[in-house]
């Protein structure tokens, strides 16, 4: 039971002013696996991340129901600091770097909860090995790095916490396809060599499913589908997240257009 990974059970979250963002969401990230949660803008993906990492309070959100446990220990009441100490760290949506701190200082902030030790310096070197470009630009303010470099920095910063579960929120956002592919290759490598569990929250369904073992689809605050990544790719809900969407929806929109075009004409 101690190695059961992340378990989210029947989670409901609401923000101040009674807007319900998640309704009865359940999810499992077994140890050593890559799991993805797909969904469009506003489906509740980031709320899920905030709930797991203890950051809901920043946005006046509250867990109304349900539990979150990590390796058997409940974490839904834990502070953000405690969650990081439990071994969960995130690459937040929009990267959320410290733009005025240098790249290296950003990385050191990732190790904020760890005790001071020479190991931190070793980990710093390891990040520079993974992302040589960060090593070159370690003295530059993070705000001046390019989009891709910033995303690498965000990943590196999370790795500095030595997480057992890494949560990546919208890793692919605004990045060139090449960079996205490179980042995901790295995540898979970390997963294989270090048995790091990874939760990938994505809008880009294609990339996410190619690089994960298991997937969920979140739609307006509820899980609508789950399954092996391979099988999910054929699912109509997932198809809708692809270019062009599912045939059904498109046909419905087109019918609407015809109806009104005729009315105007």
């Amino acid at each position: 039971m101690t190695d059961s990974g992340l378990l989210v059970a029947n989670l409901s979250v609401a923000y101040a002013g009674s807007v319900t963002a998640l309704r009865g969401v359940s999810l499992r990230v077994p140890r050593g696996s890559i799991v993805t949660v797909l969904g469009a803008n506003g489906a509740g993906k980031t709320t899920l991340v905030r709930a797991v990492t203890g950051l809901l309070f920043v946005h006046d959100g509250k867990i109304r129901e349900g539990t979150i446990t990590f390796n058997g220990k409940p974490i839904h009441t834990a502070s953000a600091t405690a969650v990081v100490k439990h071994g969960i760290c995130q690459v937040p949506e929009g990267r959320m770097l410290f733009p005025r701190l240098t790249a290296e200082e950003n990385l050191l902030c990732g190790a904020a909860t760890r005790r001071r030790s020479p190991e931190i310096d070793l980990d710093l070197e390891r990040v520079y090995q993974l992302f040589p470009v960060l090593g070159e630009r370690r003295r530059q303010p993070a705000g001046l790095l390019s989009g891709g470099e910033q995303q690498m920095l965000a990943v590196g910063r999370a790795l500095m916490a030595r997480p057992r579960l890494l949560i990546c929120d919208e890793l692919s956002l605004g990045l060139a396809p090449m960079v996205v592919a490179e980042l995901f290759r790295l995540l898979r490598q970390l997963n294989e060599t270090e048995e790091m569990s990874i939760l990938v929250i994505e809008q880009n369904a294609r990339v996410a499913l190619e690089n994960s073992h298991y997937g969920y689809v979140l739609e307006t605050g509820q899980m609508v589908v789950e399954g092996d990544s391979g099988t999910l790719r054929a699912d109509p809900h997932v198809q809708e997240l692809y270019l062009g969407g599912a045939g059904e929806a498109k046909a419905a929109y087109q019918a609407l257009v015809r109806q009104y075009r005729n009315a105007i004409a």
Partner: protein, 263 residues
């Protein structure tokens, strides 16, 4: 034929070293539904911000708007509130509503440009000010009815669900009675059913007011079905302009959307 309602050429917006949009140009015909697509960060919203005067494009850019009387206005260098008064209204990606005001107040603000009474007559509660307020209130109530929002009239906007807020924002641009409507992802995060409601609403406005619509939208199914012409952007640069069929076949567009697949 008629002159285009909006002609943009060589619009470049720069922040520090980053070019949010780079040499974008297009024409929008009166009455048309024009769509702008592109991946996140492609510069779609920057184009709208340049049109509405929030961003100042670099030298050489030109955005000419032709109003209902046929007069032409260069929008670059004009203050946003002046541009709005020419008959251009827009919605925001992350909602441009005033969350602590009631639904009614938000919609009444849409009538702001159509009201004339200043602080003197409203403060003294002069009959003229009261009459004007009542007239505008009636026209707002018609929109409330159209959007089926009578029950929320007095609620604070911020306490309502996201989908309703999106609808209120559309309601507000409707009360403004614009000629050119800029919609920034009005359907983000919605289910197919809700998207159809919004589309129905857009068509309804077009039919009633004959407005021209520029739509930014992520959902390809929507864009490919409803847009008459599409401008595709990527990394701030224009890829192509054309009918949905042309754009869908354009190799660079396919690459921008499917590129990650290739690895």
């Amino acid at each position: 034929m008629t002159t285009p309602i909006l002609t943009a050429s060589d619009v470049t917006v720069q922040f520090g070293g980053l070019r949010a949009c780079d040499g974008v140009g297009f024409e929008v015909t009166r009455g048309e539904l024009f769509a702008i697509i592109g991946p996140n960060g492609a510069g779609k919203t920057s184009v709208l911000n340049a049109i509405t005067g929030i961003y100042r494009p670099l030298q050489g850019a030109s955005i000419v708007y032709c109003d209902r009387q046929g007069r032409k206005h260069e929008l670059i260098g004009m203050k946003p509130h002046r541009i709005v008064r020419l008959g251009i209204a827009r919605t925001f990606q992350n909602l441009g509503l005033f969350p602590h005001l009631s639904v009614l107040d938000n919609l009444m603000l849409g009538r702001y440009i159509h009201q004339k009474r200043g602080v003197l007559s409203t403060g003294l509660f002069l009959p003229a000010a009261v009459r004007e307020e009542l007239e505008q209130r009636e026209s707002v109530e018609r929109v409330i009815e159209l959007l089926e929002m009578a029950e929320f009239r007095w609620e604070q906007v911020g306490s309502l669900p996201y989908g309703i807020q999106k609808r209120i924002e559309l309601g507000r641009v409707l009360t403004m009675e614009p000629d050119l409507l800029l919609l920034d992802e009005p359907m983000a995060g919605m289910s197919v059913e809700e998207k159809r409601d919004i589309l129905r609403f857009i068509f309804e406005i077009q039919r009633r007011l004959g407005v021209t619509v520029i739509l930014i939208e992520h959902d390809m199914a929507v864009v490919m079905s409803v847009a008459e012409r599409i401008l595709a952007l990527n990394f701030g640069r224009p890829l192509t302009i054309g009918t949905p069929e042309d754009v869908a076949r354009h190799p660079e567009v396919v690459e921008a959307y499917l590129g990650a697949n290739g690895g």
